[in-house]
Amino acid sequence: MTTAATAPSDRSAAPAWSSDELMTVNAARALAAARTCFVGIGLPSTAANLARRTANPDLVLIYESGAIGAKPTRLPLSIGDGELADTADAVVSVPEMFNYWLQGGRIDVGFLGAAQLDRFGNINTTIVDRGPDRPEGRLPGAGGAPEIAANCGEVLIVLRHSPRNMVAALDFRTSVGHGDGVGDRARLGLRGRGPVAVITDLGVLRPSATTSELELTELHPGVTVNQVREATGWPLAVAPEVGVTEPPTADELTALRALKAA
């Protein structure tokens, strides 16, 4: 964190980082203590690869395509790019990945994106109401997410904060976060702890220990509570003490930009 102060103090220049970079850097930091991470493509993959270059060089990246311990030198476009297999410690079949590795309870952290998220961290990636003409507008669907959400030790969710994404009621529940509230995961027989943090471009939400409802626990530098409230589609709970995330360090930004440029 030694060099971070140089950037935000330079207020006359263009912002030293984008809100997406804030989101990604904070998502990578959330992996500091993980041994293994099941990585979805897109933002989760960027954050997990950044973590390997910064907070957690030993992080084992696991892609649903079958690569265990992948060490890609650049960001893969798909979860099946050749470099994932070429650099992996082991490559397994897709059924083995889902049965022995994910369902077997071997993965510490599942890292998911979401098209819609509700206050209990449940995820929709299946259909969205696009109005009277298209009440069932298609999204890609479930992929690995339902079982990642069910079986990983814990789940991190990363998505951009907007009322369209953070909704009062999902149009479809693809993956279970905390279900209908505290105790619901146990009732459903889901083994992992579920979502422990939702990292957005505005801040971080975490489930309340008593209700499992997401509450705002951290803001990114320069963001206000009201901004987050306005970007959230339900009446947002706010933690008694709201922290501010550390600004990205120069090392983090350099690594992230190198990763995206490669």
Binding site: G66, G80, G82, V91, V94, P95, F98, G137, P140, G141
Partner: protein
């Protein structure tokens, strides 16, 4: 026992109107050339099975050959939507598309059950989601030892499975390596199996991580170098990511897609008046 033959003949003999067809390959080794031959021959009313429909099924759906899709993730990996898939589901263009939608874990286990001669498979999945409410191929079973309730998914047994592999040998054995996905299970679950290969070799050299399908588990092999493009075959090609990105613009617009179809498969439109 497998026979090595031209792709056109193999497709014509093995794949028929109304068949349930699985064309697998998890990002890697997707059998695009075989799909294009299906378009060329206008084999239609298909039920298509694939974990990730990908651009390969976007093309078949847009061409109007697909009645039903069995799948678990219908996007253009790393790019965005599959627009032909969306247009068929949301607007019924060029025809309505029935869906049987699962999670990856569920689909993988449906193939495993099919390959294992079992009517269903058991997994920890679907609990608490809305997925089970939209399909008749998810249910539950109770563990007779612990009383725990688990998800059950029905076996998938395609009429035909089509895969792309790096190599066949002269005896008709097939070998593929790299990310090997769910292709072994998809092939062993099917009544008939068609494999396109990068090349036919005299004999296999030792190769780490290779999956071998013995010749007596395969019906036909066609030598089609580059038959996975814009997907790839490890050791022969790399994924053409630019092509996947360019597909977005082609598929987004019905006219652009139709123009692509006309351009790529001119024979099927030979009776049409040039614009």
């Amino acid at each position: 026992m497998s026979e090595i033959r031209p792709l056109r003949d193999a497709v014509a003999e093995l794949i028929h109107d109304g068949d349930t067809v699985a064309m697998e390959g998890f990002t890697h080794l997707i059998p695009f050339a075989a799909a294009h031959e299906i378009i060329r021959q206008r084999i239609t009313d298909l039920t298509l099975v694939r974990m990730t429909p990908d651009v390969i099924y976007d093309q078949l759906i847009g061409a109007g050959l697909v009645r039903k899709l069995v799948f678990s993730w219908g996007g253009n990996p790393g790019v965005g939507s599959l627009h032909r898939f969306r247009d068929a589901v949301e607007n019924g263009w060029p025809r309505p598309l029935e869906l049987d939608e699962h999670s990856h874990a569920g689909m993988a286990n449906r193939y495993v059950a099919g390959a294992s001669g079992l009517p269903f498979a058991v997994l920890r999945g679907y609990r608490g989601t809305d997925l089970g409410g939209r399909t008749s191929t998810v249910s539950t079973v109770t563990c007779p030892f612990t009383g725990e309730e688990l998800a059950a998914v029905a076996a998938v047994n395609p009429d035909v499975t089509v895969i792309h592999a790096q190599q066949a040998d002269r005896a008709g054995n097939v070998r593929f390596w790299g990310l090997t996905g769910v292709q072994k299970e998809a092939a062993l679950a099917a009544k008939r199996v068609l494999v396109t290969v990068e090349e036919v070799v005299d004999a296999f050299e030792p190769r780490p991580g290779a999956v071998v399908l013995a010749s007596w588990t395969v019906d036909a092999i066609a030598e089609v170098p580059g038959g996975a493009h814009p997907s790839y075959a490890a050791g022969y090609s790399v994924r053409d990511n630019a092509h996947y990105q360019a597909w977005d613009a082609v598929a987004r617009d019905r006219d652009a897609f139709t123009a692509w179809l006309d351009r790529t498969f001119p024979a099927q439109r030979e009776g049409a008046v040039p614009a």
